[in-house]
Amino acid sequence: MSRPVHRLPARALPASTPEARALLRDASRIVDGRASIEPTDRLAYARDLWPKGLIWARSGQTPSPPELIVWPESLEEVRELTLLAARLGVPLVPFGAGSGLCGGTVALHGGIVLDLKRMSRVVALDPDAPEVECEAGILGERLERELGRKGLSTGHLPSSLGCSTVGGWLATRGAGQCSGRYGKIEDMVASLTVVDGRGEIVVAARRPRPGWETPGLFLGSEGTLGTICRARLHLVSVPEARAFQAFAFSGVRAGLDALRAILRAGLRPALARLYDPVDSQLFARGYESGAVHKRGLLRDRFDEGVMLPLERLASRAAAAAAFGLNRAADLLRECLLLLVFEGDSALVELEAEEAARVCAAAGGEDRGAEPAQTWLQNRYAEPFRQSRIFDAGAFLDRLEVAGTWERAVEIYERVRDAVSPFALVGCRFDHARVEGCALEFTFVGSAGSLEQVERRYDDLWRSALAAARAAGATFSHHHGVGVARLNAFKSQVGDGLVLMRALKATFDPAGIMNPGKLGA
């Protein structure tokens, strides 16, 4: 069913058809006028934050635009809109905040985009369980603020907290920065309320509650089976205390050994992130120039320390230079490990002491608390400055894959080698668990023209995903599949695609939900 993304010059956005205008009338009746076929809206909802979409935007093109955008306010409205779409055979694409990095919201077959941000109520908060039931369109930051007033948190704090919704987290199986301790979003779900493609309301609850529809079937479904309207999530207490540590290791292997030993010792850091030598250099610039941590100054230091060097590197990382830069980076050795422990103060102190002992035994050099403190203060700052790199005619992207510990070094080396000819590449080992971790690669590259940038970007992704697969990694740890990783998804799932098709036929027999995605 999938077909290539259409790319239209932005100015040539096709005028709305009579069918679209009729659809607008029908939908408006359901949502009390909260619907639009305006070109500006259709343009705005034509993409998410998939860097390829940014490259297209800069070259004045837009991927296949939706015909209509609607803003429902209730589960009942979502149900009626779904029934309307199913009756007319029109695609329906759920839209959270559009912060996805894989093109998940791109309406490959046009149709209706369902923006859920007006469904943002906290429905119930049970501080004893503790659990919250909320609507799926609530932005992470708002939910955390409301929970924080009661001393609670979901524990799910992605870098995109301010620009992503609960529904988006669930639909992509996202990970917060502290997922090593609190789990990924799928570990937090007690139940989901979904309007499926038939317009039926499905409550998928964890056992021992009855019903065959368990949350796992909808988690990660990226809008292809239904619209997640509500979620009931388990909560944790806001930590009473934190301890910050940093250790330097000579080389990735030594750092990984220490990371593993920390988890083996029964420690449960909120953050345990090892930067490879390239990332260590880039990250280090963010805090090395002094010890002042006043608000405002930090932001400037982050720009000067991290983003400016990245921009400079990006422009230098063109064609031949990328390879040379990566080889030069081979001479770097030092890897920085950041640790943050949180919880009650007695335990935090004990865990930090034990971690220091484990790291010292593994040859780590103590770098004090500052690097990890700086990380915490900048934890949500990084995302919003990347467009400057695209403005500079370059590209920046992240690939997060995951594997078990015995494969981590091979995954690292193979992906790095595969990407080296195309862009400067750094990596951090994150979301560490007893059995393995995620490897989050950052690429910064450029090429002569936007067309060349796009070609280079595509070649890079193909090589990187093939290398990850060959080394035994899974192709996505928390950003989902979307359009960017559709082929990787299909080849990993293999014969299992029939399962996806069976789910699709069960919950969305008319094939209206985000068609063309997830191989169904």
Partner: protein, 337 residues
């Protein structure tokens, strides 16, 4: 393609050729003896094509009870689905690892029964969460193909398709092999005793322990006089043992009277079931001696001499998958055939 074979030897020859795996006959059936996941899938596809003769053909999984040595880096272990959990656990203990603190009945299951049955391979992990022990599954699909889930700690590659096999009783396919996650075995286990007044106090005590980041692994309670005797076993590490002990003792003092209460556990349980927290106090109050295992924020497993009200028996059949969904898998199987 229905095969009308009147004679077992003839049938055996036919299926051996078609499936390309060794066979044997006995008790009026032909056994196909595949040795790999791929062979299981092929053998099942052949069986699926036999029409009424399928009743006389069994795909045997005897070859899939092996237990490999654990991977010490990732703390995982590869096992055949027929392996016994008790033996898996014994192997892991030699490496200072554990599958998790399972309920008494779970310990005697095969890997297949544990993963495909109501247990769904769930165990409580630090943070008091439930997590499936299956890192990766190798399944021969009902539709005839193979499905191997990626061996990664976590992923975000589409819906969690493994949940069509975990706790589903083999409806969508046959589990053949698995890579299981183990946990580092904490250095210490310590049991604390107390006498409390009401069943609700036991629940609050347990919730308090779990919320303090202490790891309760097993609890026993029984009526004693006008109150309830409780024995809580927690697992901990040397570096935090003193803190955990002080915390549990503090909580016990707050909720009751810490003191030795004699034997609390009550013989071999007949019944094991999964129970939500909202029903736990009722179960403590009305059941006889009760064991509480797999203690997680989602639910607990209770073990008792008789069925516990509100608990879903862990040996009851799993929820049926809808017939249309299974029909699609069968349809795809016929296409493959």
């Amino acid at each position: 393609m229905a095969v009308a074979a009147h004679d077992l030897t003839q049938l055996e020859e036919r299926v051996r050729k078609a499936a390309g795996v060794p066979t044997r006959t006995g008790d009026g059936v032909v056994e196909l003896l595949p040795g790999s996941l791929r062979e299981v899938a092929r053998a099942q596809a052949v069986k699926g094509m036999l029409g009424q003769d399928a009743e006389r053909v069994v795909v045997s999984l005897v070859a899939f009870d092996r237990i490999e040595a654990p991977d010490p880096a990732a703390c995982t272990i590869r096992v055949g689905a027929g392996a016994n959990l008790g033996e898996v656990e014994a192997t892991l203990q030699g490496w200072a690892l554990t599958l998790g603190w399972l309920s008494p009945k779970a310990r005697s299951l095969t890997v297949r029964d544990w993963l495909e049955g109501r247990h769904a391979g769930l165990r409580a992990v630090p943070g008091n969460r439930l997590e499936s022990a299956a890192l990766s599954l190798g399944v021969a699909l009902r539709s005839g193909g193979l499905f191997v889930t990626p061996a990664a700690p976590r992923s975000s590659g589409g819906p969690m398709l493994e949940t069509l096999f975990l706790g589903r009783g083999g409806q969508a396919g046959t589990l053949v092999e698995a890579q299981l996650r183990a946990l580092p075995r904490p250095e210490l286990e310590e049991t604390f005793h107390a006498l409390v007044e009401r069943p609700e106090d036991v629940v609050l005590l347990l919730r308090g322990v779990a919320a303090s980041d202490v790891r309760p692994v097993e609890v026993h309670t029984r009526r004693k006089g006008r109150g309830f005797a409780v024995a809580i076993t927690v697992a901990t590490y040397a570096f935090r043992a003193r803190r955990d002990r002080a915390l549990v003792e503090g909580l016990l003092k707050g909720r009751g009277e810490p003191r030795a209460v004699g034997q609390v556990g009550g013989g071999a349980p007949e019944f094991e079931g999964e129970l939500g927290w909202d029903r736990l106090a009722g179960a403590i109050g009305s059941a006889g001696p009760l064991g509480i295992y797999r203690i997680a924020r989602e639910s607990v497993v209770v073990a008792a001499r008789a069925p516990v009200k509100g608990a879903v028996a862990l040996d009851s059949p799993p929820e049926p998958l809808p017939a249309p969904l299974l029909g699609i898998l069968d349809g795809a199987g016929q296409e493959v055939a």
